[in-house]
Amino acid sequence: MKARVHVTLKSGVLDPQGKAIGHALHSLGFAGVRDVRQGKVIELDLEESDPNKARAAIEAMCGKLLANPVIENYTIELA
């Protein structure tokens, strides 16, 4: 079973990368870019085929490793 985990910075947490990308887009002539935030997307290919078990396993992976609970949120999409 394939799954996709989105890890993004919590709102209010400074995103230096997003800020720099927005600035670069502006200087490249792209007007009207109000905000840019950069996060990670982690694509997992699991042997587990049962969606509930897969989701539970991924929740544990996020808690332990994939996301930093202090400054990041995560969402899980099962393919």
């Binding site: 209010g12 400074l14 230096p16 202090v70 400054i71």
Partner: protein, 653 residues
């Protein structure tokens, strides 16, 4: 109390009821929440040193080469030819425990700003780290995050990270220590201070925008951790080294002109500490229009704006006619530049937002009348006498040496410092791994030697000897590379001062440090105090970290640890009395931590050190190493491994 201020809110701000009464007296009325927040950060342990100030006065801070001692953003010493070295060490212990990468990274960012706000270009960083036991579940995660954070910030800034130390001990399981040190160089006649002057002069905010980062950072630094600190997760400060690099270059470019009257970085307690300290030190008043503060988030309140610890920001007082010249420089470097207020002669901090006055506080009580405590202290228990009888004689020195060299406090630190860019700047004359790092002062033949040292187990066994030994070892490490030791910065990391035995440790260590500084002509010129390093009543070992800086004059020879050539003679300077109390030998091979630390003879230390430095200067020394943790055998093994050359020892019967 006014309806808004409840006893709970006062306690939450880390203020005692007695301290709250002082606020009422200073204001002549009850404070509003913003005013309460401002008092709480200014009177926090971190900013006011209320529990340690009484003892810090013991430390010698003067010498012919000291230009600026403690009290400014960093200390300044004269290194000849019109140049000055500017340096300081500061702690970011609590944030690094919660978020190791960002905690350590913003620690580096903060200390860099303290140095370049004085007008100095940083030339080197060092860091002193303490972690829990290697097998503690959190240690691996914390070490990885802290090292990556220090490298991530320093490497991006292009400042070489050239030295420091790291220890592991269970006492730090719940409270790691991350002390970051920066050394910079400036022209001795172009040092910038925080003292504000000139009624009506514009107060200007430069650097990154303000968000809700790390609010309560200052008070948190003094808040004792309880195990539910995981929930008490303030929005941790996040660093942007790229913006700080722009801020560094912009500030140095502006400092080359005469536009700046006063300047201070926004460190712990952000806009509050910078505005209050600048105006307070100059005996002025200051008015700020908070609507003009560049904000990263919407709907920020005066409280949040004044307490936010967003990174990479500076506050300046400019000459009125220099406004546009300064703005142009900051726009070149693509940084925010906002005039947010002016100096007055009212001696008050007045904040306005949305047309209303949101705070009006007299500066004198805020700056000069912070509470000062002479907290009760208990003399530390006498160290358990060292029972040599229980020790079996050493039958196999080879395996003992291997075990020692493999132990966490003695094994190679290459896996750490190879993650730090220690060569950028192309002035690193001695790389990490020696007794002290040596970095050339660019464009000259001078070089600065730098080291951080502390042996916490000695300080726990006998604070006075431990404090003195930390200073002596830093002095000895500088001498060992051939430098003339000049001055010290210090980071005092201790537990909860409200407990008499911790206060006893703090007082004892400072007394020992003062004695050694005087005996070695090695004054303290800056520093930081971090207290409440404790979880559920279990405190860290007393850790007074000493950051020493010395000078190699043009043409002076530099010594290194590695053996150079077969046939060279080995000379041991100083007498060995076989002292095993508090030794790593005892701990690593016998699992014991008893006995007093080794006694210290400061006159002999100075005599031996000056003898060694004279031999190095005369060109008679091929290699030199101080004998410290692990003792003589470990010191010799380190010299042999560094040079790939063996050694034969006779007369060790």
């Amino acid at each position: 109390m006014s309806p808004e201020i409840t006893p709970n809110l006062v306690a939450e701000h880390g203020l005692t009821n007695e301290e709250y009464q002082r606020i009422l007296k200073a204001l002549g009325r009850a404070p509003n929440p913003t005013e309460l927040g401002i008092f709480s950060v200014m009177w926090s342990e971190h900013c006011s040193y209320k529990s340690s100030k009484r003892w810090l006065r013991l430390l010698p801070t003067e010498a012919p080469w000291v230009i600026q001692g403690p009290g400014e953003n960093a200390g300044v010493i004269d290194i000849g030819d019109g140049l000055a070295a500017v340096f300081k060490i500061e702690s970011h212990n609590h944030p690094s425990f919660i978020e190791p990468y960002q905690g350590a990274a913003t620690g580096v960012g903060g200390i860099l700003r303290d140095v370049f706000t004085m007008g100095a270009r940083p030339i080197a960083n060092l860091n002193a780290l303490r972690f829990g036991a290697p097998d503690h579940p959190k240690t691996r995660h914390l070490v990885g995050g802290v090292v990556a954070g220090i490298g991530g910030y320093g490497n991006c800034m292009g400042i070489p990270t050239v030295g420091g130390e790291v220890n592991f001990h269970p006492a730090y399981n719940g409270n790691i220590l991350v002390n970051a040190m920066t050394v910079g160089v400036a022209r001795a006649d172009k040092i910038f201070y925080a003292r504000a002057a000139g009624v009506g002069n514009p107060v200007v905010y430069v650097g990154a925008k303000t968000g809700r980062d790390g609010i309560h950072g200052a008070t948190m630094a003094s808040a004792e951790f309880n195990s539910d600190s995981e929930e008490k997760r303030p929005t941790v400060q996040v660093g942007d080294p790229f913006t700080e690099k722009l801020l560094l270059e912009a500030c140095l470019e502006l400092m080359a002109t005469d536009a700046i009257v006063a300047i201070q970085d926004m460190g712990a307690a952000g806009l509050t500490s910078s505005s209050v300290e600048m105006a307070g030190k100059g005996g002025m008043g200051i008015e700020l229009e908070l609507d003009r503060v560049p904000m990263r988030e919407t709907g920020m309140t005066p409280y949040e704006l004044m307490l936010s610890e967003s990174q990479e920001r500076m506050l300046m007082v400019l000459k009125p006619e220099a406004r546009e010249k300064a703005r142009a420089i900051f726009e070149k470097w693509e940084l925010d530049f906002a005039e947010i207020g002016r100096l007055t002669d009212t001696g008050r901090l007045v904040l306005r937002m949305g047309g209303a006055t949101v705070a009006d506080i007299p500066l004198a009580p805020l700056v000069n009348e912070a509470p000062l405590y002479d907290r009760p202290r208990a003399a530390p228990p006498a160290p358990r006498p060292f029972g040599a009888t229980g020790l079996q004689p050493l039958t196999d020195p080879k395996s003992a040496l291997l075990k020692l060299l493999g132990s966490p406090d003695l094994c190679s630190r290459r896996w750490i410092w190879e993650q730090y860019d220690h060569m950028v700047g192309a002035d690193t004359m001695q790389r990490p791994g020696g007794d002290a790092a040596v970095v050339r002062v660019h464009g000259t033949q001078k070089a600065l030697a730098m080291t951080t040292d502390c042996t916490p187990r000695y300080c726990f066994a006998d604070p006075k000897i431990g404090g003195a030994q930390a200073v002596a070892e830093a002095w000895r490490n500088l001498v060992a590379v051939g430098a003339k030791p000049l001055a010290v910065t210090n980071n005092l990391n201790f537990g909860n001062p409200e407990r008499p035995e911790i206060m006893g440790q703090l007082a004892g260590c400072i007394e020992g440090m003062a004695e050694a500084c005087r005996a070695l002509d090695f004054p303290v010129i800056s520093g930081n105090v971090s207290l409440y390093n404790e979880t559920e009543g279990k405190a860290i070992l007393p850790t007074p970290v000493i950051g020493g800086v010395g000078l190699l004059e043009p043409g002076a020879r530099m010594a290194t640890v590695a053996f150079k050539e077969a046939g060279h003679l080995l000379l041991l300077v100083g007498d060995s009395r076989g002292h095993l109390g508090q030794s790593l030998f005892l701990r690593e091979l016998h699992g014991r931590e008893d006995g007093p630390p080794p006694p210290l003879d400061l006159q002999a230390e100075r005599r031996n050190g000056e003898f060694v430095r004279a031999q190095i200067a005369a060109g008679r020394v091929a290699a030199c190493h101080d004998v410290s943790d692990g003792g003589l055998l470990v010191a010799l093994a380190e010299m042999a491994m560094a040079g790939g050359i063996g050694a034969e020892l006779e007369g060790l019967n």
